[in-house]
Amino acid sequence: MTRIPELEQELVAAATRLQSPRRVLRPAARAALAAAAVAVVVVLAVVGATETNDADRRRQPAGTAPGAKLAIDGQAGVSFRLDGRVLTVRILPFAPTETRTRLTSARIRATCAKGFTEGPGPGPGPEPRQTRTRFWPAGSTLMRFRFPGDISRIATWCRLEDPVVGHVAFVKFADTAKEPGSAEQAVELAANEWARLFAASDPAACERYMAQPACERESCERVGHRKIENCRPPSSAFRKAFRDARVVEVAIKGKFAGGRFSNGETVRLDRVDGIGPNGVWWIVKFGGQSGRTLLEQARGQ
């Protein structure tokens, strides 16, 4: 017996199809059949994933902390939601083409873990970690990875990688990364955490809380280290102004929000739906007049 008997069968079947031109389907018909087969596999996989996800949730012990852990890799444009044994990964609308190209139609490995003893990647290590590899179908923006065990309560980071070429996306979960109760709370939570990281010039401010255009504005660089002309990065004084700043006012209008900090500065946030009950809010603009119109409109009502 071979190690992959299915592959041997597939190859012999393919050789049989090559054997006689009469028995070979026309390319168009073959493509249609293959597409149908892939569609069936995808549907079955989605149904299977949904069922197993539901089963996982039902099986969670009573002591499991409610709420999922959420985090976003702003540069890669990928969100991670770890709920029980299930890690849901979504390619966000802002995601650069590079992320989409690397993720789709590739076998992708997801890893979530508590510490970094062995560094990100597969393999046994003293720190608990869970790994699962799945094929990411072309055209899909969402993928669920069901880990063998539940690591959600202790996981501090998750990573997506292509085992051949390496890193695709990475997030660290903040201690506060539980799903907030309301949209206002979600905006406040995101903006406060962003302010703390931004003041410390921590790259996580971009990775976790900023949309790609805002990240580019912060670094004055586009993807691929291309400099943006006539762009000045935020000064250290501007950053320091956010050190102890807290959100004091929030205005929400549909998918857009404005936030005012205790230091008087404002930010504009956009909501990305599909992650948690209230979506996830991203800083899309900061400084200047960002978000002020929304705040003033809300005050005027």
Binding site: T2, R3, I4, P5, E6, L7, E8, E10, L11, V12, A13, A14, A15, T16, R17, L18, Q19, L25, R30, A31, L33, A34, A37, V38, V41, T101, R102, S105, A106, R107, R109, P122, T133, F135, D162, P163, V164, V165
Partner: protein
């Protein structure tokens, strides 16, 4: 009754693959472990190694009729040439190439947990054999075959000449080959 291909040389299996599909099955069975092991040592993931193996054999099937046996380039070397190309292309593109499989209308490979275990075991078995080599051969084989380093680079590290490294690699591989055949 299906012909038995187990004793047929690789060249015959390839040249008759299109006329007798089971010949290609025999060719696959004969080289599966080595190709899988080759990829597994380089990518470290059984599923990716399986995908690369599938693509390599699919490409071999597509071009089997063009294979011309040469004295210095046996079928196995030709197959590993394809494997090297597929690995390089996959690294460049950031994904496992699927062109040959698409061309043949092959379905995406869905591996069972048992198959993954069988592939992983291959890595352990091969590495265990490498570990059993004498120290100087082990270091040379690991550096050259697994890490794919240059002879000059390895010679510098091991503080010997390139010729000595080549000799150690050659002896090490010879020993491995003999042990694999025993198994």
């Amino acid at each position: 009754m299906e012909p038995v291909w187990d004793d047929a040389p690789d060249e015959s299996l390839l040249s008759t693959a299109r006329a007798e599909p089971s010949a290609f099955g025999a060719f696959y069975r004969r080289h599966e472990d080595r190709v899988l092991g080759y990829f597994l040592a380089r990518v470290g993931d059984p599923e990716v190694a399986a995908d690369l193996t599938a693509e390599t054999f699919a490409a071999a099937l597509v071009s089997a009729h063009r294979f011309r046996p040469r004295k210095r380039k046996p079928a196995a070397a030709w197959l590993f040439g394809i494997a090297r190309n597929k690995l390089a292309m996959s690294r460049r593109q950031g994904r496992v190439d699927a062109r040959a499989r698409r061309r043949l209308g092959m379905a995406p490979l869905v591996l069972t947990d048992e198959a993954i275990d069988r592939i992983s075991a291959l890595d352990h078995a091969a590495l265990a054999l490498v570990d059993e080599l004498p120290g100087d051969q082990r270091a040379a084989v690991r550096a050259r075959v697994i890490d794919e380093r240059d002879y000059a680079d390895i010679a510098k590290d091991l503080r010997c000449s390139e010729a000595v490294v080549r000799k150690r690699v050659s002896r090490g591989l010879g020993t491995l080959r003999a042990r694999l055949e025993e198994k």
